[in-house]
Symmetry: none
Subunit: 197 residues, 4 copies
Amino acid sequence: MTDKRREIVAAAAALMHSKGYENTKLADILEAAQIGKGQFYHYFSSKHELGLAVLNYRFESWNQRLMENILSSGKDPETKINEMLDWVIEQQRLNQAKCGCVFGNLAVEMSEHDEAFRRKLETVFEIWVSKLKPVLSEMILPVQADPEEINKMAQGIVAMIEGGILLMKSKQDLNVLVNITAQIKFLIRSFVQNQRH
Amino acid sequence: MTDKRREIVAAAAALMHSKGYENTKLADILEAAQIGKGQFYHYFSSKHELGLAVLNYRFESWNQRLMENILSSGKDPETKINEMLDWVIEQQRLNQAKCGCVFGNLAVEMSEHDEAFRRKLETVFEIWVSKLKPVLSEMILPVQADPEEINKMAQGIVAMIEGGILLMKSKQDLNVLVNITAQIKFLIRSFVQNQRH
Amino acid sequence: MTDKRREIVAAAAALMHSKGYENTKLADILEAAQIGKGQFYHYFSSKHELGLAVLNYRFESWNQRLMENILSSGKDPETKINEMLDWVIEQQRLNQAKCGCVFGNLAVEMSEHDEAFRRKLETVFEIWVSKLKPVLSEMILPVQADPEEINKMAQGIVAMIEGGILLMKSKQDLNVLVNITAQIKFLIRSFVQNQRH
Amino acid sequence: MTDKRREIVAAAAALMHSKGYENTKLADILEAAQIGKGQFYHYFSSKHELGLAVLNYRFESWNQRLMENILSSGKDPETKINEMLDWVIEQQRLNQAKCGCVFGNLAVEMSEHDEAFRRKLETVFEIWVSKLKPVLSEMILPVQADPEEINKMAQGIVAMIEGGILLMKSKQDLNVLVNITAQIKFLIRSFVQNQRH
DNA sequence: AATGAATGAGGTTTCATTCAT
DNA sequence: TATGAATGAAACCTCATTCAT
């Protein structure tokens, strides 16, 4: 991927995060990326392709920072969870609790009517869940985890994060999310206790 | 409100639920409501006004069915929670797990850039939280509830529902939501136990 | 003419004076006159008919006040001219030098493309000229007036008034008109002197 | 300014001269300029911007031909005045005495409700007055001109021209304007005589 | 690789007028 | 008389995409 293409994607990513896919107009992107129409269509065959590129671009960085650096680190599971939640809060703080989560936003906007977006978004959440599972398993050691229970709990955690971001966005108040991360920690503690008995 | 106006709102509500506010075009509404452009602008001064009318319309019915009939019924708190979660699942089943929650959808799409929508949506979630609080308080009786803890838990429940719907929508699979409602019940049980000790 | 019809015409007259014929919308008129659409079309067959009614309505009052009360009074010709110019200034002062002359405005807007308006407006200016002629004739007595010269001078005076109002409107400054009335007086004095030699 | 943009402005100028700003519809312009909607909005951000461009376009040519070539020529003042009046008549002859003066027309239509138009139009008339002043001063030489008197007379001349065009338009008869230019010459002669005594 | 002019369907809104009551 | 709902053509403007250079 050339630098210019990357620049365009980065500019579009910021816009689409805030305004959504449809409400981000090509003209906005061209202006933000400081390019002409011809150049855009040289790199992308359509706005739709760019949208998917944005999704992949955000996926890459999310995957690297959250899935790899945090959830796949060698640290103990509690630390991983804490770091994950701190990272989530930090991301929202960066845009003043206003934009929400790119993946959540696009899932809401695109899932029903755009299968390409939907599949990618589904994957994102699946990866998240699948990365959380070993962390949870590790937490309840020495008890052996029931894979089904672990899976549901991982899904519940992701749901609570996404829902927390959604609520936070509607109030434009980061504290909502902070409170909810506390609830998540409580949920996990309860789960661990419960599994151990 | 005349019948015709109500018809238009109802038709628009279905469309906006599925496609969002911006992606629902006036032409879609006119066709669905079987009216002409002029007639539309006889009842509404703008698409924006219609959007808010849709929000209010959905709020009314949600408020009646969920906030009043279910959460304010005379039944015991466990039943209220169960009925609430069943109702949520049922709503999603009605549109094949594809549309998501109108309020969540609009919160994601509109909150950042439209203050009128944001405020109404904020209110919706606040009401939900405030209606859940007495239910939770009743559950932990005879222990006296810590209002702050109750509030956070209520918020956590709403977040988990909204996040669960979001995840469900991205997978187009109702089971996701079903699983998450189970997690919610577990969370509540844990909360009750925890408050009692 | 019923009172209601008159009310409508009066309301429309104020609007059309300020905004012109085309830019005055039926909705503006209905609101200003506090009536419904049905009532409007009961009194008028079209906006065009109303426009002509407005023109006649303004013509009537102008004819009464300026043509009759002032230019056809028994006073000496200098007084008539002075009162006419004072009246013109006073009219413009009433709308803060912003609206201009209804007849001039409509002449500019309508003359080229609407023959009915054009003819009425032409008549207005012809009457004005014809009423000025005897005043000018009287002024140059005992010299007998050359009808052709008198006619041209009368036309020149009307032109200077209308042009003065136009300039005044473009500057939104009543002083422009005041200055020009002084020029008109000078022009008339010069004319009288010239005719007497 | 590209050629296409200029073409659009020229086409719109002819239309707006005849029909006014508001009554010139985008569709008229597109047809006259033989372009599509998209192309129009490529060159102009709005009809309003085009309107101002039309005004500037007409100003440029008027400024060049009348203000520079005629009123700023090295010829004697009487010739300048005569050439100016001949030019004015000639312009009106070109459109069969039907359209009037673009500046006067737009002043009447736009001054009250559009400040951008008003300011430009005000400037046009101010320039005209300011260019006439030295001509008048030169005429009364060797007497030194009273600047205030000169200014008022210049304004009076412009008013009489604009008013003459207005009257001419309402009668659709060029002779009206011809007569009035004769009055203007008489007014100037009287002014010169008066200043010299 | 790059520009930006051109396209044209479709977006929301306006409006004088007609019609059912 | 009077209401205001209904009509639909036409208003201004937007936008993703294509095309000529």
